[in-house]
Amino acid sequence: MDWIKISFWFFAILIISSAIVVVTSRNIIYSVFSLLFTFFGVAGIYVILNADFLAVTQIMIYIGGILVLLIFGVMLTNRITGVDIKSGQTGKFQLLFAGFISVVVIVLLIYLFSTAKWSVSGSNKEINSSINAIGNVMLTNYLLAFESASVLLLIAIIGAALIARRK
């Protein structure tokens, strides 16, 4: 067991357990904070997979941006006194059905992984940082996507402001 394996298992367990809390906890605040751990775990996985830039991005955007947004969302839509902060009870059938679906999906995907012939190249070249490559590709092959994303961001900002703005 080298450190990579250890850390993989660590992060994997972290991700899954925190994700389980996210999806099951009756307290919304718990869920939100569990999500923090999930994101953090995913960032760890990125590091294992030599995606350093991604890991940083993950932490900055997800934890720094999205999670904060979500917490704002929770706070703005629940009375702070915390009486009502719990998520409502879900019906048994719904739970069962959702569980059934999720399990089937997971099993299906795992079965898929076992049969798939992935496009895997033997040369597992090690590089120090992916930033260079990302920068290159982003502004050549993905130039259009990159530029379009900015348009999308603009629209989203205006839209979010428009919708969230009070009358």
């Binding site: 394996k5 979500l70 969302g73 839509t77 995907l109 999308l152």
Partner: protein, 102 residues
């Protein structure tokens, strides 16, 4: 047991399943959005894993970046909509927003 790509994929799959479960079962709209984030994260794990095991094919990273960005956009817009719902309904229980139905 050596780490191979399947480990990461299975991790992603489980996250995907949990995300789906959250989307379907959680009543609070914010929690539903969290479920969506889980799903997107699972896709990202896939991208990065495939990238890594395909000779660090950088396309996967790019995809992951876009997904993260779009996740942020989606959450922003979705939260705005949830806030609007809150203003109109004084709650954000998704399953109680059901006036439109057959």
């Amino acid at each position: 047991m050596n780490l191979d790509i399947t480990h990461f994929l299975v991790l992603g799959a489980i996250l995907f399943g949990l995300g789906l479960f959250a989307i379907i079962t959680r009543k609070n709209a914010v929690l539903v959005l969290m479920g969506v984030e889980l799903v997107l994260n699972s896709a990202n794990i896939n991208f990065i894993a495939f990238s890594k095991y395909n000779g660090l094919n950088i396309d996967g990273h790019i995809a992951a970046i876009f997904v993260i960005m779009l996740a942020a956009i989606e959450v922003a817009v979705a939260l705005a909509i949830v806030l609007n719902i809150y203003q109109n309904y004084k709650h954000i229980n998704v399953d109680e927003v059901d006036k439109l139905k057959d």
